[in-house]
């Protein structure tokens, strides 16, 4: 036993020394890519928001806060993070309940907590807290999880998802659920169980459909196929498809997007900013952004593969995959592949809390990688 664990502890530590600057952890590939994405984001946002400088400055301020959060969290040894996990999860769940009963309503849904100086969405924390909780739970146990453990994990996923869906914030609920499910998948859920669960959920669709009322069916259908409702959600999709399609390979050029500037394109600085990028910078602009995202995701998966214990491995993998879901759901929605759920484009759309939690997630990744040698028993 002893020989192999020593090997585990010393080997990687020597390799990783250059990444630690005088004890300060800061994962260069991550932070550089994030900066690149955000710079691109600012450029697009400036155009999308009608050349509004205040909005840009506010977004830059949020970015600064997010980078600060990243820098702090990156210094926390994963072992400490693991010890805190149950607390972080319970407090977030408590905050979610609090929002349910005394939250501030904004845009028709109750999702904000007023702190006096700022408002924030507890649901955002869950995107990180749920994978943490699952990784924490499996850390002490053998992988893959048994059926009984799986039920407990499902509870960790469903309780926050349900509370967030109730607000109602479908987009965040889907992301929280995805973050949990992906982490469980990484934990090595047996193939038979995956198939069985898939079969059960597929089988239950016709039953559910049978029990639904007519208007509920119509809602589901328009949700799945928004273009069948051109007076409602379909309007956005038609406009964003025109914006994307008219961009072509090279785009119309910065500040020249007619769809975005003539105000045909709704939500253009938030959920539909991907379409503005596509209109003004074309397919090449979109591919550049996608490549940058993939550098981040690839780095995250690499960190997961290199991680040394169950907690960090699952957490790193879960966070990176969630980030992919984030990107895919938004891009898929804007180009009409997926139903419309309110999911912003990560690091690019206007919005504070989501940027901070994303960067906190990257901070955790950096911490996992930067503190590897400390993990030896």
């Amino acid at each position: 036993m002893s020989s192999s664990s020593i090997n585990l502890a010393i080997g990687p530590a020597t390799v990783l020394r250059p990444l630690r600057l005088r004890g300060f952890v800061m994962d260069a590939p991550i932070i550089l890519t994030v900066f690149a994405i955000c710079m691109l984001g600012f450029v697009v946002l400036y155009s999308a928001a009608g050349e509004n400088e205040t909005l840009l400055l506010r977004q830059a301020a949020r970015f600064a806060v997010a980078v600060f959060a990243f820098a702090i969290i990156a210094q926390v040894p994963p072992r400490m993070l693991r010890l805190w996990t149950p607390w972080i999860f319970s407090v977030s769940l408590g905050l979610l309940l609090l929002v349910e009963f005394r939250g501030v309503t904004g845009g028709g849904a109750q999702r904000w907590l007023d702190l006096g100086f700022a408002r924030f969405q507890p649901s955002e924390i869950m995107k990180v807290a749920v994978p943490m909780m699952i990784a924490w739970f499996m850390h002490e146990r053998t992988l893959p999880p048994t059926f009984k453990q799986l039920l407990i994990l499902l509870l960790f996923i469903c309780a926050p998802t349900f509370l967030i869906a109730l607000q109602p914030d479908l987009g965040t609920a889907i992301l929280v659920m995805a973050s949990g499910v992906l982490t469980v998948l990484l934990a090595g859920l047996s193939l038979r169980l995956i198939l069985a669960l898939g079969a059960i959920s597929l089988g239950s669709i016709p039953v559910l459909w049978n029990y639904m009322l007519d208007y509920q069916r119509v809602r589901v259908l328009t949700f799945l196929d928004p273009e069948s409702d051109p007076l409602g959600a379909g309007y956005n999709i038609i406009q964003s498809k025109i914006a994307l399609g008219s961009g072509g390979l090279f785009g119309k050029g910065w500040l020249n997007g007619t769809q975005a500037h003539l105000e045909f394109l709704p939500e253009r600085s938030t959920d539909f900013i991907f379409a503005v990028l596509g209109e003004e910078f074309g397919l090449l602009g979109l591919l550049l952004l996608l490549v940058l995202y993939f550098v981040l995701i690839g780095r995250g998966l690499y960190i997961a593969a290199q991680a040394q214990d169950t907690f960090t491995r699952l957490l790193a993998g879960g966070l990176s995959l969630t980030f992919f879901v984030y990107v895919f759901v938004n891009a898929g929605m804007v180009c009409g592949l997926l139903p419309i759920v309110g999911v912003p484009l990560p690091l690019v759309s206007v919005g504070g809390t989501s940027m901070v939690t994303l960067m906190a997630g990257f901070g955790i990744l950096a911490a996992i990688h930067g503190n590897r040698k400390l993990l030896a028993p």
């Binding site: 036993m1 192999s4 028709g108 053998t142 992988l143 893959p144 992906l182 998948l185 990484l186 934990a187 090595g188 273009e227 409702d229 051109p230 007076l231 409602g232 309007y235 038609i238 498809k241 025109i242 914006a243 994307l244 399609g245 008219s246 961009g247 072509g248 390979l249 007619t258 769809q259 105000e263 045909f264 596509g278 074309g282 397919l283 979109l286 591919l287 996608l290 993939f294 995701i297 998966l301 997961a304 593969a305 169950t310 491995r313 699952l314 993998g317 995959l321 992919f324 895919f328 891009a331 898929g332 180009c335 009409g336 592949l337």
Partner: protein
Amino acid sequence: MNTTVRLKDHWKEQRLFLSRLFAIGAIILLLTGVLIWRLFQLQIVEHQFFADLSQGNRLRIEPLPPTRGLIFDRNGLVLAENLPDWELIIIPEEIIDLEESLQRLEELGLVDPAEHSSLTELIRSHRGFERVRLANLTEAQAARFAARRHHFPGVDIQEGLVRNYPFGKLTGHAVGYVARISPSDLDEFARGSLDRSDYAATSLIGRSGIERSYETVLHGSVGYRQQVVNAQGRVLFDSTVSAGDVLRLEPLQGSIETRWPIPGDNVVLGLDIHLQSVAQRAMDGFRGAVVAIDPATGDVLAMVSAPAFDPNLFSVGLSSEDFRALNSDPDKPLFHRALAGNYPPGSTIKPFLGLAALHHESLEPERRDMCPGYFVLPGYSHRYRDWKSQGHGPVDLHQAIVESCDVYFYKLALGLGIDNISVFLRDIGFGVETGIDVSGENSGLVPTREWKQSQFSAREDQVWFPGETVITGIGQGFMLATPLQLAHATAMLATGGQRFQPRLVMAVENGTTGKVVESDPVRLNVMSNIDEPHWQEIEEAMVGVTEESQGTGRVAMRGTPYFVAGKTGTAQVFSLAQDQEYDEEAIDERLRDHGLFIAYAPSDNPAIAVAVVVENGGGGSTTAATVARKVLDAYLLGEGDVVQ
């Protein structure tokens, strides 16, 4: 041994994890491939088409309004219909300068300058492709605009439908009205109570009465057609015309289509418009309300609130001046007295209290009690007077109801106690909303000790005084009831305790298939624990009111070929000092007593229950009973000629 097992597990776990990571990584690449393929499709393959669409050629979605459902009375007469008219509309996304366009339309006399700012706000709150109605046009105005249409890009006239109420004032309160959609309605959409996109083409929305409470039934579902329009506004492709290919339309082939609107459902009311017109004319010149109910179902046969107003004013767009005039009229024509008018029930409460006393056995109905013309609480000096200052002499329960003896009921109320009274009255529907299928109802008031405690701040006012129980016995004091509640409770007397929720709508007819769905009457709690002889006793007394020589309703009901069980009531609007006499002539008209009358008939097989309130009409035996008589005759004998 144990440690080696753990070590093996560790490696196995890592291998498992890595295999999962690779599997999921492969899925990620696959999904990304799909995404990039989709972007390639949109941006390279179909680029030219979308580029055309974004430059001048535009995809126009034209919402098609559904036809609003009709409203019928119980005999199939149309109470609300749709008539064709011209509408001036604006398409916000096609307007170049909104301010200037509006100004020029005002100069042409097509748009009311007074509405300039409210229209601007309305247009701004709509989405670009939604058509906003600016005004209804006359033939001449429409022609004037048509000649200048090319000066007004984004403004158009279209044939629309305007709501019309053929019976006008007769149905203002009972049916309600529609009005132009306002920014506050849009807020309501945002709160999710109605589907915003369903109203993309609709310019009128139910604002009161049936039109409002049955909005979702009457409205129907919006349709749309799609057009590809070039920069000059020429239609290159129309989804209602078959797929003629002017443009390369492959990319939109699947999504450009037409959906026809689904008309709203028709609504059949229990209202009898003939009876309604008789009741309305009987109330001519008075302020007050009449409610007539079918006791066997709860159907509202007539519901009049006087003075009335013409609902047609609202659907064509009431100018703000006209609305202010209507709203500030001292007679308050817009106030729905039948549903929301809170009146002291006066002596009409007596049959109900008599029933309560019989049920609680707090009196012997046969025992005669001396009425000296006033009542004094033991230990107090205040004289509670009877309306008949010389007194009724010795009276039993029957006579007390027939002659409406106040003193008898002062004592009866005291014997019952306020707690028994309030529980009983609530059980038969006083003090709570009846749950009729339109909004705007008031709950009236049945006072309790707890209510008084919560209502007053000063400790000495919070106590319930015996004197307050005394005047509750004659329906005065805190107690309040709406005409609807009175009619509802009277219908309960008619059926011996069966209670049906009052309702206006009997049936809904599907707007497309014509299939009629009749709704079942809604049965409320039955007063089944009251013994049969008690109902009998009260009914006989109420028949006595209209038949016996001493009966207070005798004059108005003289010569009816059917028996009427009725009760008169007089509600004081202001109180007299101890030594004053009530002198009708000398008192300002607005301070005169309210007259009330409740009745059901024929008493042996009741077909109708009615409640009448005439504000400042003096005693209920004269004005209110006369109105009730006309309603009963019209319904039971078919008298009174056909309306308008």
